[in-house]
Every structure is written in C-alpha cells, then in structure tokens.
C-alpha cells in the first residue's frame, strides 16, 4: 500500500506563504478609484489596552467624518478623494511608533494624525518629524508633548503640530474652583511616577510653584508607582496635615484604591480634584455613591458653545449622536477627535499644493479655524507648533438617575457657560 503524502512540504509552505504575504501589496496596487486624485490620511489611536477609553468613540467619529468627506474635498478647483487609514497603537508607545512608520512608509500617507496621551502622540509625531510628513495631534497636555520630545522653545519642530491645553490651564482652573469653595488652603498631592505624574508634580513646571504663589500649602509625600495596592501612608500624612483638598493625576484603579482606603481610615476631604482618573463617566459610575461630588478638568462637554466646521453640528448634537449610536454616555475625547479631522479637512482645502508636504505644513501653520473644541490658530500658541483650546473645571453631580459633569468654574474661558455650583463633599 502506498502512502499518500498530502502534508505541507517546506517548498509549498514557502511558496504559499510568500504568495499570502505578497497578496495585500499586489491587491492594493490594483485598487481602482474614480478619476479623482486621492489624498491619504493616517490615523493612530489607542483602540485597545489601558488607554482604550480615550478611543472608544473612534468608530462613531470616523464614520461621521467619512460621510462628510464622501463627496471629496476641493483643493484649487480639483476634487480630491480622502482616504482615512486608522491603526491601533495598543496603548503602547513602541507599537505607536511602529504603526506610524508603517503608515508613512507602507501606506505612504500624505498627512498623519494621532490623539490620546503622550504615549500615542509623541512616538507618532517623532516618526512624522523624521520622515518630514505633516502631522497634527491632540489630546495630550502640551508640556509632555513639547518637552517630552526635546523641543527647543523658539525653534520647535518642522512638520508636527499640536493643539490642546497645558498644565498652566489645569492649575488655573483648579485654583479657580477651589478659591470659590471656602475651604482651608491645605492641599494633598498624589502624583504617580509616570510621564503625567512627574510633569504635574515637577517643582518648577508643575503644581507646586503656582499653588504656593496662590497661598496654598501642598503636602506631597512623593511619587508612587502606578498600580499600588496601598495608600495608607499617604492618607496618614494627609490626615496629619488636615488637608481639605486632594489633587493630583492618577489612573482609575489607583484612585479607587485610594478613595476606598480614605474612607476606611477616616480621611474625609472636602474637595477632590484629580486629573485623568475622573474624566470618564464609566469610572465615576464604578465608584458608586462615592463618585458623586468628585471633580476634574473639563476639556470639552456637550455644553461647550461651539459647532463643527464640517457638519455644522453643535457640541450637544455630537455628544447625543454618540449616545444614540452606542448607548453609552458621552466622553471628552469625542470633541477633540472630531476637531482633529476638522483641521485636516481645512488644511486639505487650503493647501497650495497637496503633492508637496511643505505646502501642507505651511497650510497647517496658517490655520485659523473655529472647531467644535474652540478656535484653533497656531499663530496664537504659547510655544512653537502648539496652540491651546479652552479649559474649565467641572464636578460630577447626581442629576436624577445619572451622574452629570457640571461645569463649576470658568474664569479662564468665560464663553463656556457654568452649569452648576461646586458642592463640598463633607
């Protein structure tokens, strides 16, 4: 009896494997488009991993953008088809750099955009800068963006631009909120040993100096490692100093641990204002009753009096659209992700020559656009390649069955209406 060999041989595996690997390249070469020239936009975002909350609205935003772009965009009398290629950074800076390089060298995108925390924005911008590809980013305070990439004030970067707010705005909004609270000026500081925590707690550029200047006493026990299981020592120090305000920058699991332990140890501050951990409604919901009354910075909300330059939708319409599409509450990154593509569309329309990266960069630099997150104009920035959007402070308050982020302090951006009054926790 002869034995039939139907198993894979090394030869057939190599041949098949090579064909499979080559297929996408060949196929992409045969894609047929209408007569319109194509402009490609690469998009990097942390869709999975610990930062996925920032990107949860990606699908909704990109769908609306694709619809707005469906007829193409006009530039110098010619209609361009816009193709958006979105890739996942997996919340990992190395992976973000890898997919950015892939977009630039493999997909040959004309413009690259990225959003959400220094871990995404910085590696993507660095890749764009090396390869001279125009790059627009958002959703990361500008200090970690600018100084984290070794930017030199006065020189800046060649092809990478960023819009968001800075630490000075956070500090300003927090002080604005606390000043009206009528509590003692002893502040407990919780800063982890990560990019954000070190920037916020930095003696020169962070919270300590402006807080001292405003007459606040900051009790900072020191940097702690993220994902700590115990905060009893910090709590003991805060209790000993009679802190009535707690501030800092934490990730959600750390805050939950701290907040439960505070209750166990009998530490009851009157105001708790924490960056990053308290941004998302899902986090506040997970804290149950003890989520009511916590406060944080507000970059964007459905009450911001701005409209999209692309679709004309108001902030409220954009946020409600997300809730209707997903059944989930609105989150702050939605507005910024939308604004990112507003800027892209504006740049594509205005650029003198879309074939020339330098012309695109020049168009970015001369942007003056009213977006859903406010006016974006790099001529008004605090430093090269950076421009700022308004920042206010808000408090999560129970409104019927739901927790709502009420804007309670706005002296830094008075065009954004106040929607609630700060309530003390105890």
């Amino acid at each position: 009896m002869t034995k039939k060999t139907s198993t894979w041989t090394r030869r057939s595996f190599v041949a098949g494997g090579a064909a499979a690997l080559a297929a996408p390249a060949i196929l992409s070469g045969t894609r047929a488009y209408a007569d319109n020239p194509v402009i490609k936009v690469g998009h990097v975002s942390p869709r999975t991993g610990p930062l996925a909350g920032f990107a949860e609205a990606d699908d909704y935003v990109l769908e609306a953008i694709a619809q707005a772009f469906s007829a193409g965009l006009e530039n110098n009398g010619k209609t361009f088809t816009v193709e958006i290629i979105s890739k996942d950074s997996q919340s990992n800076p190395n992976r973000a750099a890898e997919v950015a390089a892939d977009l630039i060298l493999g997909d040959e995108v004309d413009i690259i955009v990225a959003a959400s925390t220094p871990d995404t924005v910085n590696p993507v911008s660095d890749q764009a800068e090396i390869n001279d590809v125009p790059c627009i980013t958002t959703d990361c305070p500008w200090q970690p963006y600018f100084f984290g990439r070794n930017g030199v004030p006065g020189e800046g970067f060649r092809s990478t631009y960023h819009f968001f707010w800075g630490l000075e705005d956070v500090i300003g909004s927090f002080l604005d909120m606390w000043d009206g609270a009528g509590v003692s000026k002893t502040v407990a500081g919780l800063f982890p040993n990560d990019a954000d925590g070190n920037a916020w707690g930095d003696a020169e550029l962070g919270l300590p100096k402006p807080l001292a200047a405003a007459g606040y006493d900051l009790i900072d026990p020191g940097r702690f490692q993220p994902l700590s299981d115990d905060f009893s020592n910090q709590i003991a120090a805060f209790k000993a100093a009679d802190c009535e305000i707690v501030t800092g920058n934490m990730i959600a699991p750390d805050f939950a641990t701290f907040w439960a332990q505070s209750a166990q140890q009998g530490f009851a501050p009157k105001v708790v204002t924490i960056g990053k951990a308290l941004l998302f409604p899902s986090v506040i919901e997970s804290l149950g009753e003890r989520g009511d009354g916590l406060s944080s910075e507000v970059w964007w909300s459905p009450n911001h009096p701005f409209n999209s330059s692309l679709t004309g939708a108001s902030s409220k319409e954009l946020a409600d659209g997300y809730t209707a599409a997903s059944g989930r509450p609105w989150t702050q990154p939605i507005g910024f992700k939308h604004a990112l593509f507003e800027v892209v569309a504006d740049v594509i329309k205005r650029a003198e020559d879309l074939e020339d990266p330098e012309a695109i960069v020049a168009a970015i630099a001369s942007t003056n656009l009213d977006t859903i997150t406010g006016n974006i104009n790099w001529a008004n920035g605090p430093i090269n390649n950076v421009t700022k959007t308004p920042l206010v402070a808000g408090q999560w308050q129970r409104d019927g069955d739901e927790l709502d982020l009420k804007i309670v302090a706005n002296s830094n951006a008075t065009n954004i209406p106040i929607t609630g009054e700060l309530k003390l926790l105890s």
């Binding site: 991993g49 996925a52 700590s228």
Partner: protein, 287 residues
Amino acid sequence: MEWLNAVVQGTLLGGLYALFAAGLSLIFGVMRLVNIAHGDLIVLGAYLGLTVTIILGLHPLLALVIVVPAMALIGYVLQRGILNHTLGKDILPPLLVTFGLSVIIQNALLETYSADPQKMNAGALETASLSAGGLSVGILPLLTFGIAIAVIASLQWVFYRTALGRAFRATSDNQEIAQLMGLNRRHIFGLAMALALGVTAIAGIMLGIRTSFDPSIGGGRLIFGFEAVIIGGLGNLWGTLVGGVILGVAQTIGAKIDPGWQLLAGHITFLVILAFKPNGLFPRINE
C-alpha cells in the same frame, strides 16, 4: 504609631497577596506548572463576579457562591482540555501555552467588557472601619485577611486530611507510581486546577471590591503572587501566607519612608530572600 499603622496595613495587604498566590502555589505544588495566566484568571474571576452581581443583584460576597464553582469548572475543563497535553519533562510548553492563554483572556475580556474600569459595589463594607487607640483598620482588608487564612487552612486540611489530598501529594511525589496505584493523573490534575481557580475566584472578587479593575491589570497582580509563593517557599501553603505578609509589610514600610519605594521595597525584599534562601523561607520541595 505611624510605623505600627504601616505594619498593620501591610499585614492586611499581605492577606490579599496570599490569596493571589495560593492558587499558584497549589498548582505548582501538585503538577510543577507555572501558570503565567494566573493574573488574568484573577481578573476573569472579578469580571464573572461583576456579571453575577449585576444580573442577579447579589452582594459581591454572595456572588462567590456562583463564581467559585464556575471558575472551578473552567479550571477542570482547562486542565483536561489544554494544559494536560502540555505537561511533560519539558517545562517550556506549559509556560508558553499559559502565556498565550493570558493574551487570549485579556483580549476576550476587552472584547466583552470593553476597557472601562469596573468595580464591584459592596456598599457600606467598602468604607467601614474599626478604630482602636489611634489605629483605623478597614473592615474589608480585615475580612480579606480572614478569608486568606480560612482559604489556606482549608487547603491545608484538604492536602493532609483527605483522600483527595493524598492523591494530590502522591501525584506530586511521583506521577508514574501514582498512576500505577490506580490514580488517574489527568483527573487529579483537573481537580487541582479546579481547586486553584476556585481560590482564584475568591482573590478576584476581593480585588474587585477593593479597587477598580480592567482587562489589562492581570499581569501586574501576577508578579506579587509569584513573589509571595517564592518568599514563602515553593509548595508550602502557610509559607505563602507568610510570603504575602512579608511582601505587604515591606511595601507599606517602604512607602512610609518614601512613596516611591513602595513597590521597590517589596521587590528588593523578594530579591534579598531569593539571594540568601533561594528555596524560600519554608521550602517543602527539595529538588
């Protein structure tokens, strides 16, 4: 008083670490399997607990009645279906397979529950505390510590006072001879994994009440489990509790000196013990 507080809080934290570690210790003791997916299984337990509390409206501690058997079943199926096939002379295949399992569990959780941090709501239990002489001790950490002792005492009882425990020890000592004596090694391993994941379920729920969790935090918890097992001595259950407490106290004392030293102090203590007593403080297995 502040130092005393740090020691007390650290000891209670050690209870949680001992719960993380007990399952690892048990599996290693019986079948020499290093389970890289253990941290993710803890998180899986927490998510199952969350699902049960939301669907049935139960208190998280009552949810244990459902989650522990469910995890035990998962453990048995996992061991019989996958892990038994990887066990052999070579220790690498189980390592690789459990590593892959860890990636799969994380992504499955991400797909099912999204990246939102979740927390189990245990009501007043979370914030209740006892005060005595300037010390405040949270009821929840105290309860966790009590549960850790109870879990380890019952595992110890199972190991040394029951037929099942005898079977565990026999297979652990010599698989072939145990097999000759009529023990089905595959079934015994399945039961050991079931027991281990039952304990993991308890660890997951206690973690989920104490802090918020998301699909990605498993790996960070695994390291504490490993350290507690190794400090205490491989395969020694009471040693695991001691290891957990040493790790917890090292962390809080470190944090008392400077918060930046919290995790570092734990890791350094672990390394020092590893350097001077490579088999841990109370080794059971001499190889």
